[in-house]
């Protein structure tokens, strides 16, 4: 029986590669930066151009499909996930890294049908690493199979997260407290590379044992979620409950014991949901 979504995935990989080339070209020139929700929430013309390219290319081939794209949502498009085949797009994950030319910058695309992730593609374009995963078919980096580290002992693990300024002081303090709690378990180390999608791929290929984050978006996670799961990892909500793509938070890890240990250590703070109606 043929795979109904393989053609979509092949198309996705091709457009993602083109998007990555556009980003690499933009890195050679001056980058002008705008702010979105705060002085540390950045966007550039390249984010917008790349998203427009991806959506128009896909829409030409699949006019009935739906889209949730970071920059479209920023200008008022809906971010409600329906049963319709849906492309969930982050044109540049790691915009701050892009602005600074810090090496972790990716294009992330997750594809859902009936609200279930069918495949994910994450292209870490400065490194030229194309991560892909089709549900039930394994995860790959540049065509080579990848798998999680398998580490079950948190005291031998490297954990990824991000350290961001937050205007809400309570949220900021909780974020810092969480990092401190994890560090002093103790773990081997904490790394903050700056791109959620790349972080998930680093867990998927065994270079890190866990990644957790409160405050990201569905477009940051949709591509990586398939890749980590197909690489043998686990993904869950920060409370230990099942993963919720619209919840703006996740823990992903090489094993359930590590994920659960992290869930026990971290406290939540409100981060909204991607499918909240805006007031």
């Amino acid at each position: 029986m043929s795979d109904p979504w393989q053609e979509c995935m092949d198309h996705c990989i091709a457009v993602t590669r083109k998007a990555g080339e556009m980003i690499r070209e933009a890195l050679k020139k001056d980058i002008s930066v705008m702010q979105k929700s705060s002085p540390v929430d950045l966007v550039t013309e390249t984010d917008q151009k790349v998203e427009a390219l991806i959506i128009s290319t896909i829409r030409e081939k699949y006019p009935s499909h739906s889209f949730i794209g970071e920059e479209s949502v920023a200008t008022g498009s809906s971010s409600i996930l329906t049963e319709n085949p849906t492309w969930i797009i982050d044109p540049i994950d790691g915009t701050t890294n892009f602005v600074h030319r810090f090496p972790f910058v990716s294009v992330s695309i997750g594809f859902t049908v009936k609200k279930e992730i069918e495949f994910g593609v994450v292209y870490s374009c400065v490194e030229d690493k194309m991560y892909t995963a089709r549900r039930g078919k394994g995860a790959f980096c540049n065509g080579e199979p990848i798998k999680v580290s398998g580490q079950k002992d948190i005291t031998k693990s490297v954990v990824l997260t991000e350290i961001n300024f937050k205007e809400n002081l309570d949220h900021f303090k909780t974020m810092m407290c969480n990092i401190q709690n994890i560090l002093t378990i103790p773990v081997h180390g904490i790394r903050c590379p700056g791109s959620a999608a790349v972080n998930m791929c680093l867990v998927a290929c065994g270079s890190a044992d866990a990644y957790y984050h409160i405050g990201i978006h569905c477009w940051d996670m949709a591509g990586g979620a398939a890749i980590v799961t197909e690489a043998g990892g686990v993904i869950m909500d920060i409370t230990g409950c099942p993963f919720d793509l619209m919840s703006r938070r996740l823990i992903t890890a090489s094993s359930r014991p590590i994920a659960e240990q992290i869930a026990r250590q971290i406290q939540q703070f409100p981060c909204g949901r991607d499918d909240e109606e805006s007031s």
């Binding site: 540390v40 890294n97 600074h100 810090f102 300024f165 790394r191 065994g206």
Partner: protein
């Protein structure tokens, strides 16, 4: 006038490349991990083997020179910098990254004469990036000249630091306090990549505006210091004075203004100097 130390630098580049190949090779195999000063201060047989390889190679060609190497010092060798030409070696900077196959692992070789750094070589071996800097001759990565970022507005800057290998509650408290104050300036973000030598090269390459840390060693920063400086950056102590290679502390930045602003927020804490004598005199 012939360049006195070019020969030594060419040798450093060649041996760093060889060492990097050994490290890449060992990434595929089993690793035995040992702890040094804490459960997060790790060392492997590869660290030791690579240091032996580098030192043997240098001693054969430059038998009168002095050597300071991380693993030799761990095994009891003194860590005193004299006027003699001295190679300051970290055979594997980012051992935790190496163990986890996280992509930032480097060989770092700095060279000092009359206690002044003459050149530095940092080979980021998984990325295959050879960073070099020679006093007065610029800094390069794979032959391409490096220039620090021109960003002087601290609120538009990206800062690199590390959470370190100490799990002592007081030390951790100071580290988090500094980080918190810097984040709230606010800066664009903080990154933690796991290798001091590579962090310094990222500043030299313009990928971040500053890197600071307390707790590193002279072998982590001696090569990177030349590379940053030759790329147009500045080096400073965490309390604002000149960089002291043996002090266990560093600020490397694209500009004096960014460095000084960071220094204002850093909460210093004690770290035993690298050149403390065995007699333990102050």
């Amino acid at each position: 006038m012939a360049d006195l130390w070019q020969d030594a630098m060419d040798h450093a580049v060649a041996i760093a490349r060889k060492a990097g190949a050994v490290i890449r090779d060992h990434l595929q195999g089993e690793m035995t991990v040992m702890c040094k000063s804490s459960p997060a201060d790790l060392v492997t047989a590869t660290d030791q083997k690579v240091e032996e390889l580098i030192m043997a190679s240098i001693m054969e060609k430059f038998p009168t020179h002095s050597l300071i190497g991380e693993e030799s010092v761990s095994a009891g060798q003194p860590c005193i910098l004299t006027d003699n030409p001295t190679w300051i070696i970290d055979p594997l900077d980012g051992t935790t990254n190496f163990i986890h196959r996280f992509p930032f692992v480097a060989v770092s070789i700095g060279f000092a004469v009359n206690k002044e750094l003459e050149f530095g070589v940092v080979y980021s071996c998984i990325e295959d990036k050879m960073y070099t800097g020679k006093r007065g001759k610029g800094a390069f990565c794979n032959g391409k000249q490096l220039q620090v970022s021109g960003q002087t507005d601290i609120k538009q800057s990206l800062i690199i630091t590390e959470l370190g290998s100490s799990r002592d509650a007081e030390v951790v408290r100071h580290i988090f306090s500094s980080m918190q104050k810097i984040l709230c300036i606010p800066v664009h973000g903080i990154r933690c990549a796991g290798s001091a030598a590579i962090n310094m090269c990222l500043v030299a390459a313009g990928a971040a505006e500053a890197y600071y840390e307390i707790g590193i060693h002279c072998w982590d920063i001696s090569a990177g210091a030349v590379i940053v400086s030759e790329a147009g950056g500045v080096l400073m102590d965490v309390e604002g004075g000149p960089l002291d290679l043996m002090s266990r502390r560093v600020v490397a930045a694209n500009s004096k203004s960014v460095a000084e602003r960071i220094v204002k927020e850093i909460e210093a804490f004690p770290a035993e100097r690298d050149d403390v004598s065995e007699a333990g005199s102050a």
